[in-house]
């Protein structure tokens, strides 16, 4: 088997010697990380170490100066990014879901051409709402009426309904109370088919992840 085939079979995310700079500010230099399919990884590091920027690199929102990213064995570039995003579920600390009613915003991504093959599953949505301690009454509310924790869970529900295989959760449980956080973390722990890269300052999350990776200060670094 060649390397690409090996990556496709075993590794969901391969970050190779990635360097990201904003002007004179270097966020990370030569950073490498491999996440095998199905693994749950907690990414920690001091503020400003580039954790969120790394996640944004994986989605193609930021273009690194050096290095490569492979998702499911395919190198991320301007052409492949559109199909690779369809493999990724992304939830940030403050998800901006748009404007309107919650039920409409949940169904909105299913109208996108790329998701046309997917069908919105109301029963799946109801199950996830129950599992994540969300009231069904929220569906008829305007998104602006929701709390930060409710928005985070609604964003998680949307990404899960889209059936992605890789999840990038950037402080996605930061606004949840202990019960809701446990419910969300338990869900991902019980899904061995999902690859999860979680960015968090909450080291308690490490209890449910397979390993913890620390974004070190700016020096050549590698975490395989």
């Amino acid at each position: 088997m060649d390397n690409a085939a090996t990556n496709r079979a075993d590794n969901a995310i391969v970050i190779d010697k990635l360097t990201l700079e904003y002007g004179t500010q270097v966020l990370f230099r030569g950073f490498s990380l491999t996440v095998p399919a199905g693994q749950k990884v907690l990414l920690v590091g001091s503020s400003g170490s580039g954790k969120s920027s790394l996640v944004r690199c994986l989605l193609g929102f930021v273009t690194p100066q050096e290095g490569t990213i492979a998702i499911d064995g395919t190198i991320l570039d301007g052409k492949t990014v559109w199909s690779l995003r369809r493999k990724i579920g992304y939830v940030s600390q403050e998800p901006q879901l748009g404007t309107g009613k919650v039920k409409d915003l949940i169904q909105l991504p299913f109208t996108y051409h790329a998701n046309i093959h997917l069908k919105y599953d109301p029963s799946g949505q109801a199950r996830l709402f129950e599992q994540f301690r969300l009231s069904a009454a929220l569906l008829d509310k305007d998104i602006s009426e929701l709390s930060g924790g409710e928005k985070q869970r609604v964003a998680l529900v949307i990404s899960l309904l889209l059936g992605r295989s890789i999840y990038l959760l950037d402080e996605a449980t930061s606004a949840l109370d202990a019960e809701a956080k446990t419910a969300v973390l338990d869900y991902f722990r019980q899904r061995p088919d999902l690859t999860v890269l979680m960015v968090s300052h909450d080291t308690a999350i490490a209890a449910i992840t397979d390993r913890t990776v620390t974004m070190p200060a700016v020096t050549a670094q590698e975490a395989v």
């Binding site: 944004r56 301007g78 998800p95």
Partner: protein, 264 residues
Amino acid sequence: MMNAADAIHPLALTAGYLMLLIPLAIIHWYRVPMLGQTISSVLRMTIQLILVGLYLQVVFRLNNPWLNMAWLLVMITVADLSILKGAQFRFGRLAAWLFAALLVGTAIPLFIFVGVILTRPEILDARYVIPIGGMILGNCLRADIIGIRTFYQSIRTGQKAYELALSQGATIAEAVRPHLRESIYQALTPTVATMANIGIVSLPGMMTGVIIGGNDPLTAIGYQIAIMLSIFTGTAITVFLAILLSARSAFTPYGILKQAIFKS
């Protein structure tokens, strides 16, 4: 057949300038810091209008379709440059897309107005095409600045929502839809509001011109309705096309808005 309006003798116009003594006295008395600026603006207006008047007199006398079209293109080019300046963007080659949007947005309602509504056989008749084209273009220019600025600024300020849409599988066209909706709304609202209040608050320019030209008010109303419909159609086409065409060069292959288009 239209009658000519009474000409104003240059000496009689002096009375108009003398009228200025009243606002200038108020400005001077209360030391409002705009005396120099006001005098300079009045001088500029006078010189610019004299030059344009002389030029248009030649254009109207020759009434050459090619010359009329060339003058329209000059007007559109100046409007294009004003949009780039007014919208505070560093567009570079995007100026060509904005020019195309203005050209199409002005040409379609202009030719419907002159060729279909007025049924003029000579569509490029200077007497119609230049003043009517100018009115449509002036409004397209104002709407375009609002539309373009709203569109790109709202993507910039709503970056998180835009990126979330991309991460959920949206194409650029799908992800910008709420921003497109907002910018078209902002750009067209002034014209919609004007149409709702026209005739009550003030008599609009075109209607006034037709009445002074010696026609009865009902004829003037026909012209005014036609120009308002043309302006609204023209602004909608221009704003929509300007966003659609400029967006082709404003995003990276990853679907991210190029920060380089902003001046600040």
